[in-house]
C-alpha cells in the first residue's frame, strides 16, 4: 500500500477505493472476538454499531476489516448540520443543465462499499432516519428528490460508531435506530495488546519504553472519575511514543501527548504528571 499511496499523494481521488493487490493491511491487533463478530455480520450483511471511547481503535478496526474483506470503505464524519442531502445526494447546476450528484451513502449503496458513519449521534435525528430502510430486511435507499429507490448492492454494509459519554445524555440514538444494529463494544486494549500496538505503530521504540508507556496510560485512565472528559487513549500513547522516537525526552513527550491535550485542570495534570514521572524517572 505504501508505494501505491505515495504515487497518488496530493492528488484528488474518488472516495470509493477498492484495496489493490499488493497493498498491506492496515495494522490492527484484535482485542477479543470482534473480528469474528464482524465477519459473521458481514456474511449476513447486518449493519454494525461500534461503541467505545475516543482513540481506542474503532476506525482502525474498520479500515482493517474493510481491507480483509476486500471492500472499499466510505467514511462520513457526522456533524450537527449534516442533512439527508449530504448523505443521499443533491441536484447541482452545471451550465444550463442540472446534474444529480450522488451523496457518499448512495455511492456506497451502489458499488457495494462499507459505509461508515462516524459519530452518528452528532447528526440531526431527521437525517439519520434515511438509513432506516437500509438497515433492515429491505436493504434499499430511497432517493426522495428523484422519486427513486435503490436496492443496495449485495456487498453493501453500513457501520456506525458512537461514543457513549455523558455529553450524549440528550443525544442518544433513537431506540428504533439502535436496535437495527449489531453492537460491538470497544474499550482500551489489554496491557500486552496495547504494548504490541505501540511497538508496531512506532517502529524503533524499545519494548521497555512501550511497557512503561502502557503502564502509565493504564494508571492515567484511573483518573476518569476525577473530572477527565476523555481518558488517555491508545492513540495518545502512540503519539507519545512517536514523540519519544523523534528524540524528545520521555517525560516531556508524555506531557505534550498525554496530559496537555486532555485537561486544563492544574491538579489533574499534576496527578497525571506524577504518574509519568514515576514511570519515566531516571
Amino acid at each position: 500500500m505504501k508505494t501505491a499511496v505515495n504515487r497518488i499523494r496530493g492528488v484528488e481521488r474518488d472516495i470509493v477505493q477498492v484495496p489493490l493487490a499488493g497493498d498491506t493491511a492496515p495494522y490492527y491487533e484484535p482485542q477479543g472476538n470482534e473480528v469474528a463478530i464482524f465477519e459473521a455480520a458481514y456474511k449476513k450483511r447486518l449493519p454494525v454499531m461500534l461503541k467505545g471511547p475516543t482513540g481506542c481503535g474503532k476506525t482502525r478496526f474498520l479500515e482493517h476489516m474493510a481491507f480483509q474483506l476486500q471492500r472499499p470503505l466510505v467514511t462520513v464524519s457526522c456533524h450537527e448540520d449534516l442533512t439527508s442531502s449530504d448523505l443521499v445526494g443533491r441536484f447541482l447546476l452545471e451550465g444550463a443543465d442540472t446534474v444529480w450528484q450522488d451523496g457518499p451513502l448512495t455511492r456506497a449503496v451502489k458499488v457495494g462499499a462499507i459505509c461508515y458513519l462516524d459519530e452518528i449521534v452528532e447528526a440531526r435525528t431527521d437525517s439519520t432516519v434515511v438509513i432506516h430502510s437500509l438497515t433492515d430486511h429491505r436493504r434499499k435507499l430511497t432517493i426522495e428528490k428523484k422519486g427513486q429507490e435503490i436496492e443496495a448492492h449485495e456487498d453493501f454494509m453500513l457501520v456506525i460508531s458512537y461514543n457513549p459519554g455523558y455529553q450524549t445524555v440528550l443525544k442518544d440514538l433513537k431506540p428504533s435506530t439502535k436496535q437495527r444494529f449489531i453492537g460491538i463494544n470497544f474499550d482500551f486494549p489489554a496491557e500486552d495488546i496495547e504494548r504490541k500496538i505501540l511497538i508496531n505503530e512506532v517502529p524503533g521504540i524499545s519494548p521497555e519504553t512501550a511497557q512503561q508507556l502502557v503502564a502509565a496510560g493504564r494508571k492515567a485512565r484511573l483518573l476518569k472519575d476525577h473530572g477527565l472528559e476523555e481518558s488517555t487513549s491508545t492513540r495518545a500513547l502512540v503519539y507519545a511514543a512517536n514523540m519519544m522516537n523523534a528524540g524528545l525526552d520521555p517525560v516531556a513527550a508524555c506531557q505534550v501527548a498525554m496530559i496537555n491535550p486532555i485537561t486544563d485542570d492544574i491538579e489533574l495534570s499534576e496527578a497525571l504528571m506524577e504518574i509519568v514521572q514515576a514511570h519515566f524517572a531516571v
Binding site: 428528490k145 455529553q167 476525577h226 514521572q277
Partner: protein
C-alpha cells in the same frame, strides 16, 4: 587611694551595719558580692550598696533579686553604675519586684548579646512598659533576651515592640498576652509575619476582647489557621484532591483523608495512620516529602501493618497481650525498653517502613529511587540520630538492589523483602538489630523525629484499628468499621441519616420547618414562622400527592407510600441575592458572552421555510436545479429569523437537606452559598439562552412529608421575587430523592418540548429518617424513580459534590448520567456550563 576615701569606707560600713540589722541574709549576700564590686572604686561600691539598701527597703524581694543578679551582671558588663542606676528605676512602680527580678536575670545576656547601647535600649523599652502597666513590664523582663531579640540584636526587639505598642495604645492589649504568641509567630514564620498577624489580631480584638486574646495567645482556631496558612512548604490540606487522586492511581482504593491536629510547635510534621484513615498535617516541607509520605502511609494500610493476625503475632512474640476487640495501643511493646524506648522504636520503624516501602515499590514504579533521592537531598537532620538516618538510607538502597534480578539480600534486612513478611517479622528483625547495640541512645524528641527518612514517620503515634485480612469481602470491613466507631469515643458519631441533623429530630411531629442554621435575616425567620400548613388550613389536600415507592426487599411497589407536598419557599433574602450577583458578576458576564457567541448556531435561522425575510441560498440553488431537472420542488426557499420552537425543557432540582448547611472544608463559607450562587447563575444564563426551565428544591422527613419547593415554574418569568427566593434557599431535614424525582417528572406533564432534562443538584446519598439505616432501600427506590422518569421521556442527570458519590451514583443513575464535582467552589460556574454541555 583607699586612705583618702576613708570617709566613704565609713559610710559603706555604716550601710552594711544597717543592712545587717534589717536582714541577715541580705547582709551576707551583699558581703559575698562586694569583693567583685570593690575593684571599681569605693564610690561605685557605695552607690551599689546604697542601691541595695534602697531597693531592699522598697521591697525585700526586689532587693534580694538585685543583690543576687549583681555578680553576673558585673562579670559580663564590666561596669556597675549603669545597671545599678537602671535597677533604681524600678522603684518608681508598685510591685515591680518581679520585673526587677527578670531584669537582673537577663542583664548578663542583655549585655552579652546586645552590647552596651543595645542593653540600654532594651532596658528603656522595658521601662516604658512598666510605666504603662506593670504586668506588661513583668512579661517583658521575664522573657529571655535571646528569645526577645530572635538573635537579631536590638532590631529584633524593636520589631516585636512596635506592633505591641500600637496595639496597647489602640486596643489596650497587654504585652503579656501578645508576647508569647508573637515570639512563636516570629520563630515559625519570620519577622515579617508579625505585623500582619498582629493587625489581623487587632481587628479581631475589636469584635470581642475574649476572642481577640485567644487569638493572640494562638489558642483560637482562626489564629492557628492563619499561622498554618502562612507556613512555608507544601500544603497537604489544600492539595487534598491531588493526594486523593494519587492514592486512587496507585492503590485504587478509597482512603479516608483527615486533617491531623498537627501544629507547628509539635515539631516535624508526619502523615499518620491508624489503620482506618490517613491523617495529614497542614504542611510538609516539600512536595516530594508529602507525596512520599501519603504513599508510604497508604502502604502501611495496604501491606498489612495493621492486619490483625500479624499484629497479634507481633504482640505474642513480644510477650504482650493483644486485645481481642477495640483499638490497640502500641505502648506496651515499647514500654519494656524503658529509657531506651525511643531507640527501639526507631529501629522497629526502620524495619517495618523498609518492609512496606519494598512492597510499595512494586506498586509505584521508582518509589524507592524517589525516596532515596529526596533523602539524599535533605541529608541527616540531627547529629544525634544521623546514624539511624544513614542506616535507613542504606537499607532503602539495599531494598532497591533487591528489586533487581539477582539482587543481593543481606542477612540483616533480607527477611523483610520476602513477600510473606509481616509486621511481626519486622519486629523480630528490629529486636536483633537492637540487641547488637550499634546505634546510639536517643534522648530528645527532636532528634527522634529527625531520624526518619522523608515521608516516613513514627508508626506508633495513634491507637490502631486492626484490619481483617484484605481478602475478606467489603462487607466485613464495613462491619468492623462500624464496630470501631461505636467503640471509639471522641470520634464523630455517625448520625443516621447522615443528612439530617440531630436538632431536627427533636422537633418531633411538628410540621414547622425552620432553616437549619440561623443564617436567614430577621424577615426571613419571621416569614418562616408562617408555615404553609397554617396558611392553607389543614384540609385533605394538605397531605399532598401520593407516589409509589419501590421496596427492593419485597421486589414490589408500595402504593401511595410517599407523599409530596408542593410548597412555596417561604424564606426569601434579596440582600443575599444581590450580594451573590455582585460576587459573581464577572462569572455571569463571561457566561453570557459565551452563550451569545454560541447563539447564531443555536437559534439558527429557520431554513427552508415557505416564507420569510431572507433567501436561503442553498435552498434556492437546490430549487432552481430541481426545477431545471424537470421536477417540481417545494418552494421552501426562505429563511426566517424567529425564535425557534422550544426544543428543550429543563428542571433544576436542588437537594435542600441539612447537609448543604455545612461549612466548606476549604473555608470561605458554606455549601449552601455555592448552591445559591449556582442556581442563580443557572437561572440568569437560562434567561439568556431562552430555554424553558423551572427550579425546585426538595427535602423530606418521613415518607409522608416530602416537601417540594417550587421556586420557579416553567413559563414563569425570572422575577425579583424568584431571585430573592433563590437567595433564601437553605437546608433542612433529609433527602428522599425518589419521591422528588417522581414529582419533578410529573411536573413535566403538559410541557411541550422535544427533550426534557431533569438536573439534580445533590451533595449526598438519598437518605431519610425512616429508612432504618438501610441505605440500599432509598438507593433502589431512587434507581427505580430514575427508570420511571426515563420511560416518561425525562432524562435525569445528577450533579453532586459528594466525592464518595462514585460508590452509589453509577447504580442509581447509570454510567455517564452523573457528574462528581470534586471542587465545590467551582459549582456556581460549572452548573450552567454542564447544562450547556448536556444540551449541545
Amino acid at each position: 587611694m583607699a586612705a583618702i576615701n576613708t570617709e566613704t569606707q565609713a559610710v559603706i560600713s555604716a550601710l552594711l551595719q544597717q543592712l545587717k540589722e534589717a536582714s541577715l541574709v541580705a547582709h551576707r549576700e551583699v558581703e559575698q558580692v562586694l569583693p567583685v564590686i570593690r575593684p571599681h572604686g569605693d564610690d561605685v561600691a557605695l552607690a551599689w550598696i546604697e542601691a541595695c539598701r534602697k531597693l531592699f527597703d522598697y521591697d525585700r524581694e526586689a532587693g534580694k533579686a538585685f543583690i543576687r543578679g549583681s555578680r553576673e551582671a558585673e562579670k559580663i558588663s564590666e561596669t556597675v553604675l549603669p545597671w545599678t542606676a537602671q535597677a533604681m528605676h524600678f522603684m518608681r512602680w508598685r510591685s515591680s519586684w518581679r520585673a526587677l527580678e527578670g531584669f537582673m536575670q537577663n542583664l548578663p545576656r542583655a549585655f552579652g548579646s546586645l552590647g552596651h547601647s543595645g542593653q540600654r535600649r532594651w532596658a528603656e523599652i522595658g521601662f516604658v512598659w512598666c510605666g504603662r502597666q506593670i504586668e506588661s513590664g513583668n512579661a517583658y523582663f521575664a522573657t529571655p533576651v535571646v528569645e526577645l531579640s530572635g538573635r537579631q540584636g536590638i532590631a529584633g526587639i524593636e520589631q516585636l515592640n512596635t506592633p505591641a505598642e500600637e496595639l496597647f495604645e489602640s486596643r489596650k492589649l497587654l504585652l503579656g498576652t501578645y508576647l508569647p504568641g508573637a515570639l512563636r509567630v516570629r520563630n515559625l514564620l519570620g519577622a515579617q509575619a508579625i505585623l500582619p498577624w498582629a493587625l489581623r489580631g487587632a481587628d479581631i480584638m475589636q469584635s470581642g476582647r475574649a476572642r481577640g486574646e485567644a487569638y493572640f495567645r494562638l489558642e483560637s482556631e482562626e489564629s492557628l489557621a492563619l499561622l498554618l496558612e502562612h507556613l512555608p512548604g507544601f500544603r497537604l490540606i489544600d492539595r487534598n484532591r491531588l493526594l486523593a487522586m494519587l492514592l486512587d492511581i496507585w492503590y485504587g482504593g478509597d482512603f479516608e483523608l483527615k486533617e491531623s491536629s498537627w501544629s507547628p510547635e509539635k515539631g516535624r510534621p508526619f502523615v499518620e495512620t491508624d489503620g482506618c484513615s490517613l491523617f495529614l498535617p497542614a504542611v510538609m516541607s516539600n512536595r516530594d516529602e508529602a507525596v512520599l509520605a501519603v504513599l508510604h502511609a497508604a502502604g502501611h494500610m495496604r501491606f498489612g501493618t495493621f492486619e490483625r493476625r500479624a499484629m497479634k503475632a507481633m504482640f505474642g512474640g513480644a510477650g504482650v497481650d493483644f486485645p481481642e476487640t477495640g483499638p490497640v495501643s502500641w505502648a506496651p511493646l515499647f514500654i519494656r525498653y524503658g529509657e531506651d524506648a525511643l531507640r527501639f522504636q526507631l529501629i522497629f520503624d526502620l524495619c517495618e517502613d523498609l518492609r512496606v516501602d519494598f512492597r510499595v515499590q512494586q506498586l509505584v514504579p521508582n518509589y524507592l529511587q524517589r525516596l532515596i533521592a529526596t533523602a539524599r537531598a535533605t541529608g541527616a537532620r540531627h547529629p544525634g540520630t544521623s546514624a539511624f538516618f544513614d542506616l535507613a538510607l542504606a537499607s532503602a538502597e539495599e531494598a532497591l538492589g533487591a528489586t533487581r534480578a539477582h539482587g543481593v539480600r543481606s542477612k540483616r534486612f533480607g527477611p523483610l523483602f520476602d513477600a510473606a513478611a509481616t509486621v511481626a517479622d519486622a519486629f523480630r528483625v528490629a529486636s536483633v538489630i537492637y540487641s547488637n547495640d550499634e546505634l546510639p541512645h536517643v534522648a530528645d524528641l527532636e532528634a527522634f523525629h529527625a531520624a526518619y527518612l522523608p515521608g516516613r514517620g513514627p508508626n506508633a503515634t495513634r491507637l490502631v484499628h486492626p484490619q481483617e485480612r484484605r481478602e475478606q469481602s467489603q462487607q466485613t470491613q464495613s462491619q468492623s468499621e462500624q464496630q470501631d466507631q461505636s467503640q471509639e469515643q471522641g470520634e464523630e458519631q455517625e448520625q443516621t441519616p447522615q443528612n439530617a441533623e440531630a436538632g431536627d429530630e427533636q422537633d418531633g411531629g411538628k410540621r414547622q420547618e425552620v432553616a437549619g442554621y440561623g443564617d436567614s435575616s430577621g424577615a426571613a425567620t419571621q416569614s418562616a414562622q408562617r408555615s404553609d400548613a397554617q396558611q392553607h388550613g389543614s384540609n385533605v389536600a394538605d397531605k399532598g400527592v401520593p407516589y409509589p415507592e419501590w421496596d427492593y426487599r419485597e421486589m414490589r411497589y408500595k402504593r401511595n407510600w410517599s407523599w409530596v407536598q408542593e410548597k412555596r419557599l417561604s424564606e426569601s433574602n434579596l440582600s443575599e441575592t444581590n450580594r451573590l450577583m455582585k460576587q459573581y458578576a464577572d462569572a455571569l458576564k463571561r457566561l453570557k458572552r459565551a452563550i451569545q457567541s454560541q447563539k447564531p448556531t443555536r437559534t439558527a435561522p429557520l431554513l427552508r421555510q415557505l416564507d420569510g425575510d431572507d433567501m436561503d441560498i442553498n435552498a434556492v440553488v437546490g430549487y432552481v436545479a430541481e426545477k431545471r431537472a424537470g421536477r417540481s420542488p417545494s418552494p421552501a426557499i426562505y429563511r426566517r429569523r424567529e425564535q425557534q420552537q422550544r426544543e428543550i425543557a429543563v428542571t433544576l432540582l436542588a437537594d435542600m437537606s441539612t447537609s448543604i448547611m455545612q461549612h466548606l472544608p476549604e473555608g470561605g463559607g458554606r455549601l449552601v452559598d455555592r448552591v445559591r450562587a449556582g442556581v442563580l447563575l443557572f437561572a440568569e444564563s437560562m434567561e439568556e439562552v431562552g430555554d424553558n426551565y423551572s427550579i425546585a428544591g426538595f427535602c423530606s422527613k418521613y415518607r409522608d412529608n416530602v416537601s417540594y419547593y417550587k421556586i420557579k415554574d416553567f413559563d414563569q418569568p425570572l422575577s425579583q421575587d424568584v431571585r430573592s427566593q433563590i437567595g433564601g434557599m437553605s437546608g433542612r431535614l433529609a433527602t428522599r430523592m425518589g419521591a422528588a424525582i417522581r414529582h419533578a417528572t410529573a411536573c413535566f406533564e403538559g410541557i411541550e418540548s422535544r427533550r426534557r432534562l431533569l438536573l439534580i443538584l445533590s451533595d449526598g446519598r438519598p437518605e431519610d429518617y425512616d429508612d432504618g439505616g438501610d441505605r440500599r432501600y432509598l438507593h433502589e427506590d431512587t434507581r427505580m424513580a430514575v427508570k420511571e422518569a426515563v420511560a416518561k421521556g425525562v432524562h435525569p442527570f445528577c450533579i453532586t459534590v459528594d466525592t464518595m458519590a462514585n460508590q452509589y451514583l453509577p447504580q442509581i443513575f447509570g454510567r455517564g448520567h452523573y457528574l462528581v464535582l470534586d471542587q465545590i467552589n467551582s459549582l456556581p460556574n460549572k452548573l450552567p456550563e454542564i447544562y450547556f454541555r448536556l444540551r449541545r
